[in-house]
């Protein structure tokens, strides 16, 4: 994972800690959301957070369950979407 992805993944974990998870629950970028009962509404919150804070709108094709499984996979997907938006494929 690149340092950008690591940073973004940690940021998503921090968001979950302050808005979704109970106080003493720990999360790391590799922990599957489902294991902590993080449901689809919370994942929508994360996607909206990425849009609002980082200006990244995830395209439909990127919203695959594998990309939404962990903070790491979501961060990677967001970084990729941002790169694609800057350099659209020919």
């Amino acid at each position: 994972m690149s340092s950008n992805e690591q940073e973004l993944a940690e940021e998503l974990c921090a968001y979950l800690r302050s808005h979704v998870l109970a106080k003493q629950v720990s999360i790391d970028p590799d922990l599957p959301f489902a294991q902590l009962g993080i449901d689809s509404m919370s994942i929508i919150e994360l996607v909206m957070y990425l849009e609002r804070k980082h200006g990244v709108a995830l395209p439909d094709k990127a919203l695959h369950p594998e990309n939404l499984r962990t903070a790491k996979s979501l961060a990677r997907c967001a970084i990729q979407a941002r790169a694609d938006a800057v350099l659209p494929s020919r």
């Binding site: 979704v20 998870l21 109970a22 106080k23 003493q24 629950v25 720990s26 999360i27 489902a34 294991q35 902590l36 009962g37 993080i38 449901d39 689809s40 509404m41 919370s42 994942i43 929508i44 919150e45 996607v47 909206m48 849009e51 609002r52 439909d60 919203l63 695959h64 939404l68």
Partner: protein
């Protein structure tokens, strides 16, 4: 949620004989629904959780365990106080005489099960929970928890099941009630006003409604269950993806349900500009089992116009957009603020605020999606749990409640209805259309 991922003990409140706890705004909303149902002559706002157990389950032994279960007895002593000068609160009536609370029934058939168990009424004045232990004629066995919705949300019901399991973790160090919300009053009022403007910003007069005034809904709740095998469930999930439900299968479930219900209105030769539905969202902190009692819920609201209901894909797209917009605007959290404020006004006033714009309809139908929550109930009292079903109440109006759930990879849909709102023949049509729409994304021919 797997047990290994549950955090160690949370805020531990030891048993407090002088227990009092303010109700939450969501509790108050459930009390409003209870009042609404009883005014119409229905039973109260009662939810049920059925655990279908392996035939080796010993029901008499379970009865003994429930009767000795201190937490269950505490629950049955919880009462509601409505003082004039402060928000209503829960308290424990230590002097309450507690006959029963659990019954064993043998040689029951499914018709009697619906009439006797699934229509059991509960009052907060006499005990907010009841356990039926049922041995059916076909050899199967079930444990059914009936609980008043003002004191239990879905997660609370699951936690109560774990408390009742003689081989379970009991309270597991969790608190009885949630921590009170720390939101300062000015912010709470601001959020409440914002939500009210949002809710009242559109007219509700023309929403699709099943029940026609003049037919008191007193025939009881009818229940049907749609069951999908594991492979069929995968087909439904593939359809959900194909039809555009990227951020939650519930959007697909809701689209299919609305389109199926629309066929009932078409059969009635009625056309309505739109359907209005609220979808409950759990606001419990994640990653822990959580408290036992009291609701922590919010809602998102979906308005599906007739034009959007032309296909499942367009319905899903409309739902996706509306839910994203509300979450981006922070509406679920703000709705909680509104509900908290509304605790401080009498229920009749709260009811009038809901009834006036909607002419008493509340919604076109009631809908919820429990997801995979039931997966943690795989054994009970040392025997296998073969199936878990949540039976919702069917407040009328609207008179139809649809709940989606899963257990062990199999999708189930419980349909609760009232004859005076939707007839048995119409429910046959609805069920057939819903089945087809979920599996194929298309109406049944």
């Amino acid at each position: 949620m797997p047990a290994s991922s549950v955090a160690p003990s949370v805020t531990h409140r030891p048993f407090d004989p002088f227990l009092t706890q303010p109700i939450t705004g969501a509790d108050n909303f459930q009390l409003l629904l209870d009042r609404h149902m009883r005014k119409q002559g229905q039973q109260g706002n009662v939810v049920r959780l059925e655990l279908r157990l392996a035939p080796s389950a010993d029901l008499e032994q379970l009865r003994g365990h429930v009767q000795r279960n201190g937490i269950f007895m505490l629950v049955r002593r919880i009462r509601l106080a409505r003082p004039i000068a402060r928000a209503p609160y829960w308290y424990q009536d230590k002097g309450a005489d507690l006959p029963g609370g659990v019954e064993v029934r043998t040689a029951m058939d499914r018709a009697d099960f619906e009439a006797v168990v699934l229509n059991r009424d509960l009052s907060l004045a006499t005990g907010a929970a009841f356990i039926d232990l049922v041995a059916f004629n076909d050899g199967s066995k079930s444990l059914v928890i009936s609980a008043h919705h003002a004191l239990f949300d879905q997660r609370g019901m699951m936690n109560l099941a774990r408390v009742l399991d003689p081989e379970g973790p009991g309270m597991g160090g969790e608190a009885l009630f949630p921590e009170p919300s720390p939101e300062p009053w000015p912010k709470r009022l601001k959020h409440a006003v914002q939500v009210m403007f949002y809710m009242l910003g559109s007219p509700f007069w023309y929403l699709a409604r099943l029940w026609v005034k003049g037919r008191p809904p007193q025939s009881g709740t009818r229940t049907r269950v749609l069951r999908f095998s594991a492979s069929d469930t995968q087909i439904v999930d593939q359809q959900a993806w194909a039809q555009g439900a990227r951020l939650g299968r519930s959007h697909y479930h809701l689209a299919a349900t609305t389109m199926a219900l629309r066929t009932v209105f078409m059969q009635r030769r009625e056309r309505h500009p739109y359907f209005w539905v609220s979808m409950p969202l759990s606001r419990r902190p994640r990653g822990v089992r959580g408290h036992l009692l009291s609701n922590q819920l919010s809602f998102v609201f979906v308005r599906l116009h007739d034009q959007a209901l032309g296909s499942v894909a367009t319905s899903v797209a409309s739902i996706n957009e509306q839910i994203k917009e509300q979450i981006a605007a922070g509406l679920p959290a703000k709705y909680v603020s509104l509900l908290e404020v509304l605790r401080h006004i009498p229920l009749w006033w709260f009811g009038a605020m809901v009834n006036l714009p909607m002419r008493g309809a509340y919604a076109s139908f009631a809908f919820s999606d429990i997801g995979e929550d039931h997966d943690e109930l795989r054994t009970f009292a040392g025997v296998d749990v073969l199936e878990v079903l949540n039976y919702p109440p069917a407040p009328c109006p609207p008179g139809l409640t649809i709940t989606f759930m899963r257990h062990a990879g199999e999708l189930k849909v419980v349909l609760a209805s009232v004859e005076e709102a939707i007839s048995a023949q119409e429910m046959d049509l609805f069920e057939r259309q819903l089945n087809a729409l979920l599996r194929t994304g298309e109406h049944a021919s």
